[in-house]
Symmetry: C2
Subunit: 139 residues, 2 copies
């Protein structure tokens, strides 16, 4: 696999943004996967400008629906996602980001966000807190 | 990891449906990951009834937005997804399905749907067709 260098050329970024199908809010879901282990870390949303920024900087930038602003992953927590590959699906309506996650992806201090599992005895927490959230978001 | 047996108890299914945050269309995104290799296969949507059915049968059932109906994965193609674990994230607004995919997940006949990758030379197709789509959908 050829290593991808960022920024991507402007014409490639334009082609990607043109190909992607953003929803009626101008958003598209983006799954982040740790590139070497396959761990699914989180899912968040991007708009066209967040896609452009991510493909330019090589650092993952989402769009925060709650803050209605760019969400440069790691900006406040230090837990940056470096982009290894930007993929999208057959319908061009979902993005799969292959990333290297510094530290933890989840705001609870867990490595990934999918730590709740439906089992025969109820819903179980299947991952431990790795980093105290108070440490993540202190100034 | 304890093997999960389906159907889950009714009270667990109720707890899961109550916990999940469905959007204003009554839908929630669900990522399907091959449980043993970590391959991200696809993303689709579920409504509450699709969640209930999946946790009852142990076979993944989505909600098709285009057909406005249940989408029992493999019903027409034979490419069934058996549920190994049903997880959801810290915000309870995304599901991660650990599955065993029979055959191929993608309607193009590729193993997974995320075969388009943005590279320095353009957007590349990074996975081959494994099964002729004509074979998948013939009667």
């Amino acid at each position: 696999m050829t290593k991808i260098q960022y920024p991507l050329p402007g014409n490639v970024i334009n082609d990607v943004v043109d190909a992607l199908k953003f929803d009626d809010r101008g958003l598209i879901p983006a799954i982040a996967q740790q590139h070497d282990t396959g761990e699914v870390l989180m899912m968040a949303w991007m708009n066209a400008d967040a896609v452009r920024e991510s493909l330019t900087t090589g650092r993952v930038c989402y769009w925060s629906r709650s803050r209605n602003n760019f969400w440069r992953k790691g900006e406040s927590s230090g837990q940056v996602q470096s982009l290894k590959a930007f993929r999208y699906d057959c319908d061009a309506d979902t993005i799969l980001l292959e990333v290297h996650q510094d530290g933890v992806a989840c705001h609870t201090g867990r490595r990934n966000c999918f730590y709740l599992e439906a089992g025969n005895d109820g819903v179980n927490i299947i991952a431990d807190v790795v980093t105290d959230p108070g440490e993540l978001y202190k100034k």
